[in-house]
């Protein structure tokens, strides 16, 4: 019974993802055009798809949340039955204080939660992306106390007291960060999924001050994979921002 319901749940979840994927695919051409058209100067290119979807009154995340709801409904009755025989362990939580993009946050979190999940799921800062969730792609790069790290391999609880800057926190007073502007100027992305990580990583790179030559920039940006292969333009964008800093 459990396995049956679990399979059903998995199928529904998969179906939900397919719906979401199909939906964004159908709107693909239009999305990439509206990404820039709808942006006012103060907005960041944090999550072009979410942003563009929002103009149509439906978000990709909304679709996924609906799918997730269906899953919980199917699985929950069984989880209750299981709890009657052997109590499920309660999640260990801990208080965490973080300054996120300049704003102090006091949170009680599951100690297993990654900084990435905390940003995306708890604080709804979905600009930071989950790519591989294994520290191999760099899509989740954020700045912690000014240094670039991968948020997927960071347990949020271990960073209690830290200051976190995400892609949403780079623009200041309605003006794009020089790296954001440079990425637009040089068309340094195609799908845009790796872009928030690329920009946060490049901000860390510039602060480190170790990269001077194109070879050095490429090497020190190697933790950020771009499956579209926009590397040439990413390099040009970083060089432009570097000259301005």
């Amino acid at each position: 019974m459990f396995y049956l319901s679990k399979i059903t749940a998995d199928k529904r979840l998969k179906k939900g993802r397919e719906i979401a994927a199909d939906w964004s695919f159908q709107h693909w051409g239009k999305l990439s055009m509206t990404t820039i058209d709808h942006r006012s100067p103060g907005q960041t290119p944090a999550d072009p798809t979410d942003e563009a979807d929002a103009h149509r009154g439906v978000t990709r995340r909304g679709v996924l949340h609906l799918a997730g709801g269906a899953v919980s409904f199917t699985v929950l009755p069984h989880a209750g039955a299981q709890a009657a025989s052997s109590p499920a362990p309660t999640a260990a939580t801990a208080p965490v204080q973080l300054t996120v993009n300049g704003e102090a946050r006091q949170l009680e979190i599951d100690v297993r939660q990654s900084l990435l999940d905390l940003l995306r799921e708890t604080l709804d800062l979905t600009g930071t992306k989950k790519g591989c969730d294994h520290g191999q792609c760099g899509a989740c790069t954020v700045l912690v106390d000014g240094r670039r790290i991968v948020s997927c391999l960071t347990l949020a609880v271990t960073r209690d007291g830290a200051s976190v800057t995400t892609i949403e926190g780079l623009a200041k007073n309605g003006t794009l960060h020089p790296l954001q502007q440079a990425f637009i100027d040089h068309d340094a992305f195609q799908c845009g999924y790796c872009t928030p990580g690329q920009i946060c990583s490049a901000a860390g790179l510039i602060a480190e001050g170790k990269a001077k030559t194109p070879d050095e920039i490429r090497e020190l940006m190697s933790g950020n994979i771009c499956r579209c292969g926009a590397y040439t333009n990413i390099l040009a964008a970083i060089q432009q921002a570097m000259e301005q800093s």
């Binding site: 297993r112 991968v150 860390g204 933790g223």
Partner: protein, 338 residues
Amino acid sequence: MIQFQYIRAGTVAEAIRQKAANPEGTFIAGGTNLVDLMRSDVAQPAQLIDISRLPLDKVEETAGGGLHIGALVRNADIAYHPLVEQRYPMLSSALLAGASQQLRNMATAGGNLLQRTRCAYFYDVTTPCNKRNPGSGCSAIGGLNRMNAILGTSEACIAVYPSDMCVALAVLEATVHVTGPRGDRAIALVDFHRLPGSTPERDNNLAADELVTSIELPPRRFAANYTYLKIRDRLSYAFALVSVAVGLELEGGTMREARFALGGVAHKPWRNAQAEAALRGRPAGDAAFAEAADLVLREAKGFGHNTFKIDLARRAIVRALSQAARGTPQSQSNKKIA
């Protein structure tokens, strides 16, 4: 990831006490390897003892002209530390050859020592693996073993220890300082990691209740004639197929001291005393280099997919020795092999 209890240690003594009280617990610092292992259910600690705030984050000169690197110094901070860059450029180079800048900003010196193999079967909990589940068998022998070991293997395990840093530390003959309920002790880096033998579940000789506190570099630096040459599937951000760290001391064209270690080929950084002895007192040149390479690799054994590593290692050794002898170490940003 399973449930665990989170404990933050404020002092080294407290960390040791917590570990003694929680034998099912694990220390966490940078977390770059451990969090990934926990997420894959390879590691299932009942407690995480956070040691990231302990005061083990300094790089300091020792009285004897060496360097003490605290166990919690981040990999990037070691690589870019002025004293390391000037005096131990081989270590700096090896560190910059590993991982990505994001990971180097997180990963600590002690964590680098204790990182676990990236053998695909170790990570895949649906397959037998003697390192993960002792007695279950080795899936890499007879499996997809392109990344696996060619030296010091056993019937139980052909996993590779993946650190770049430790290949340089083996050449520098660093010392690992540890502490525990029975007090402090020092372990030579070359004796720190183990061969798999019949107990591949043990990566190293650190006792379960001990904590690494620092790495000590001796005064011998090899700052003039060194290299770290890393051969991998892509130019950056990949584990080594084969890597070679070399330190030479030349007098005229003669090698007065010669040391080299291999990474990516064994369960520990691989040195061979006989091969190094074959270099000492000889003119630096391809004849001596090739002889040394043959001496290291005569006991090498391939397992099919990784057999190419034997030839690759031979050429990498000769090339690395020649880079060091010429004083043209491998650049870690311009990847053209010097």
